[in-house]
Symmetry: C2
Subunit: 233 residues, 2 copies
DNA sequence: CAGTGGTCTAGACCACGCC
DNA sequence: GCGTGGTCTAGACCACTGG
């Protein structure tokens, strides 16, 4: 069951993507959208709220909802998108090699105060883009959430597997970007001495931690983009 | 005039910060909050929405609103916070040196398609943390928005000046993090060959672009942290 | 001034988690 | 079953922008 607010948001998104509404344009007013979709105004507003969250529009009092520039973002808006999705949206010629897939307890160094090591599936993957090794991903998927991972899925998009096949509701993540000397095995794979490192902790909708990732990137190819709204309270 | 939803959000935020509600705890139910604050439920929900946006709570259907871990973030949640605010929240011993403050057109390389060079105030500042030069900030503040910047304010927090004194409504930004060879003058100031670079475009609530920043960081000290929610539509 | 978005209300029904 | 959050409604008044 899709909610009305989601349907409206999707429809507007499609119209923005198709160029029916272009950057700088104003969307129809909220009252007008109300008539267009046959819903109450609060429902329309919730739909628009989704687009605001996506960084697609900006609401201006007394003027309207302004469509923002899309093409600024080569990379995903706030990086919770998976590697496969990235390729699709960027049209890169990419390949994934699974180097390791085994049972291994999650590392201590990832853990904060109350978290301790837990049984997990460890996956090391090499991402090859346009024929060049660019990224090494090391994932720990907690067994308490996903007991088993088929090898075939690891070569594909893990997120697709988790969400579509297992019905997991991946909800939020914390990320930390740093620049470090490459560990030996990474240095060998990527042929560089230093790497950009992205460490993530990914959580489900019910607040369960389920994935710990360390992602090593060739620094000369690395880009991390972010869309941020100023939080005032 | 503070809206009810903002007051409620602030109050809950204070209670979370003070430890009255701790990570893992559930906030009172929405109906209960309704009675507590004497408002309708939708208003309570809007307040909670703000806390969700901040990454402070996670709502779980059938269970309640769970308070999330705060202390994961040494750096601000989604980096639209200014340097001075950072210090305050992290208790660092920091100092700012204004190296340059002059009129200078905004650079071309920052511009996308329809944007061209515009008159701006250029500010170069050196950030010294615990006695060590760590960051070089280069800002272009568009004159169309802020015609003049007092030298004294540049040494302070520009954001405080813009928001409190000028009443500007800073709303959102796009950021791009990369690792690069340091430009000569930066290499000299920070005494390193490579730097972490954060480029930002900052916009006002009415969608006017007003600030372009390039921020060079010592790579060994650099950390960029992000809280991201998975965007499903 | 008319039109825009921002806030708020007092209901209602539904979907889900937990006991 | 009960309590939770998710969705939705049909009004209302306010604050701001624009011409």
């Amino acid at each position: 069951m899709e909610s009305k607010q989601r349907l409206i948001a999707k429809d507007l998104l499609a119209k923005i993507k198709s160029g029916q509404y272009r950057p700088g344009d104003l969307l129809p007013g909220e009252v007008q959208l109300t008539e267009l979709y046959g819903t109450s105004r609060e429902t329309v507003r919730k739909a628009l709220r989704h687009l605001v969250d996506l960084g697609l529009i900006q609401k201006v009092r007394g003027r309207g909802s302004v469509v923002l520039n899309l093409d600024r973002y080569k990379f995903p808006i706030s990086g919770l998108t998976s590697f496969k999705e990235l390729n699709a949206s960027q049209g890169l010629n990419a390949e994934t090699k699974v180097l390791v897939l085994e049972e291994r307890p999650s590392p201590e160094y990832f853990m904060t105060a109350e978290l301790t090591s837990e049984p997990a599936t460890f996956i090391r993957r090499l991402r090859i883009i346009n024929g060049e090794p660019d990224v090494v991903d090391e994932d720990f998927i907690l067994k308490s959430v996903v007991p088993e991972i088929p090898l075939g899925e690891a070569a594909n998009s893990l997120y697709r597997y988790f969400e579509d096949d297992l019905g997991l509701d991946i909800s939020y993540a914390t990320k930390l970007v740093t620049f470090e000397k490459a560990p030996q095995h990474v240095a060998k794979l990527l042929q560089v001495a230093s790497v950009a490192v992205v460490r993530s902790m990914v959580y489900l909708q019910d607040t369960r931690l389920f994935q710990l990732t360390t992602s090593y990137h060739r620094p000369d190819k690395f880009e991390f983009s972010d869309f941020a709204r100023r939080q005032k309270l």
